[in-house]
Symmetry: C2
Subunit: 331 residues, 2 copies
């Protein structure tokens, strides 16, 4: 075993110090029967609920840059997992963060990332419960969110039935526009826009009471429609005229073809829900009461496949924009 | 938006295909009220239990190499989180895997990693419930384990009381010896040994019935003793003569000083428990009945600090071996 030749940098991450700092952030007992900073976090399930968990990753070079503001990275890393839990109609309660950073990374970076995660979690009454830091050549943050769901409101992707109406929260195309701007303006600002994920937690809990099936549109509405159609064995038709296209996309991109591609590109993190026709009005009201917006954008029928109704005729749904592992922007 | 110039490599990871493959691996319904492959996993808590979750990371270059067998990497990534959940006396039920890998990484690599994780989880009746793959410059696997614990058996680090007896499972020094061999033999084999974490899940569940405090010795027994003493506000004395030193360490390293350093180096992933004196005999029997071994190695007293009793006198406990973020092997 080798003794260290170099003096450690006192500002660099020290896993133990970082955990102590993390453990001091919340009063013991507030989040569950184990103090923060222990080997694991413990959470008491409310009566009648099930635990709903999801994990997602943001990686330097793929989703953010070395000089992206760490608070924004931590916030986004948390938001993407919050979105998954929300899409199962569930209430998030806890966040675990696994942070990878090069040796010598200032502890400030990790602390800012945690603060960003905490702020995002707190918006929905959830808390950062713990985490892990490991040295590695590139920064990455993996967030795991745990929440409580209701067994009959989990809205599995496979639950859509012919006759259901498709609702989407918010707008489409925000993520596509941010991606478009990567090539047409200040890169750092466009990347920051891509990181501004606003998970539809309250909307998800509201829609879970009515939806047969629900999922988030992290890879775009076209992609989510396809996943829904495949998992449920149904035919999905989206009505292009009814799409709530983001105003900035309408204003910022002149070509209708480009606009359509960007609308379906992905990175929107809205919710897409299949709701029985008799519940649509109540579901729309519930989303408004939760402070959000939802729009009926299509329908579920018997059959297979996903289609776009455009100017009165049905065309095949455009492909999702981004499949990063295949080294291609579009397939 | 740029169209792809290159044809995608059909053997490379495609996140969607990978998720489909993952979802096909377990019959729907077997693990909970949501099918695998949905946006999140859902698990029904057994009556009277709390959810216990922990997350941990293995990073290429820090914990494994690009050519380390992926099955072993997936197994180890799962084992380290299983160990944390076990240290809270809890029964693991589900594993989520977040895999980062460079674009073009063969999907085979990720599948083998998942299979390794599944085999490890299955040893304890748990399942891989889902995961996430993202492109990034370096491979990393983050595992999150969820289990069910019993509120009065969580054995927080802060629960040790004067009079408690310290028990450790297994042996000490296995991790230190593997690290030692990194500098004295075939590197790949030594790295594989470091990855061979054998989480003490059954032992943890058995000890949880008796322990006031428990944690794993991922950073070594000296380090775990210190964490226990600090969190509980107690004085810990470990008796060197009673340490169950790994036979391979006794046989493989001649110098007593080096042997001691390696015994406390870390990477053992045993459990260290503080048990009231009246329960020690039952706790030892319970561990044996669970197929494991445990040894009384020290005591908890009033006061502060951690000490080693060696040849009749008390010396300060050696420091843990490995604090990776500080760019030093020892501090």
């Amino acid at each position: 075993m080798r003794r260290a030749a170099r003096r450690p940098d006192p500002r660099a991450i020290d896993e133990r110090e970082f955990h102590r700092w993390l453990a001091r952030r919340l009063p013991a007992g507030r989040t569950g029967p184990l103090p923060l900073g222990d080997d694991a976090a413990a959470l008491r399930p409310p009566s009648g609920t099930v635990a709903v968990i999801s994990t997602d990753s943001l990686v330097e070079g793929t989703h953010f840059l070395a000089d992206s503001p760490p608070g924004l990275v931590g916030r986004a890393a948390t938001a993407v997992s919050l979105s998954d839990v929300a899409s199962k109609g569930s209430r998030p309660v806890g966040v675990l963060l696994a942070i990878v950073a090069p040796p010598g990374t200032p502890e400030r970076w990790a602390r800012e990332a945690v603060r960003g995660a905490e702020r995002e979690a707190a918006r929905f009454g959830a808390h950062v419960l713990g985490g892990d830091t490991k040295p590695g050549p590139t920064r990455a943050i993996v967030s795991t969110v745990i929440g409580w769901g209701w067994p009959r409101r989990l809205a599995p992707r496979s639950g859509a039935r012919p006759g259901d109406v498709l609702l989407t929260t918010g707008t489409v195309g925000r993520g596509g526009l941010a991606f478009h701007r990567l090539g047409h303006g200040p890169r750092q600002r466009a990347l920051a826009e891509l990181l501004r994920v606003d998970p539809r937690v309250r909307e998800g809990i509201a829609l879970g009471r009515f939806a047969d099936a629900m999922l988030d549109t992290s890879d775009g509405l076209a992609d989510a429609s396809r996943l829904l159609a495949e998992a449920s064995g149904v035919r999905v038709v989206v009505d292009e005229d009814r799409l709530p296209v983001a105003p900035a996309l309408r204003a910022g991109v002149a070509s209708p073809g480009a606009r359509r591609r960007l609308a379906f590109f992905g990175g929107d993190y809205e919710l897409l829900a299949a709701v029985p026709p008799g519940s649509v009005a109540r579901a729309l009201r519930a989303v408004r009461a939760a402070g959000g917006r939802a729009t009926a954008v299509g329908s579920v029928g018997a059959g297979r496949g996903t289609f776009l109704r455009s100017n009165g005729r049905e065309v095949r749904m455009p492909r999702a924009g981004w499949r990063p592992f295949r080294r291609s922007a579009r397939r």
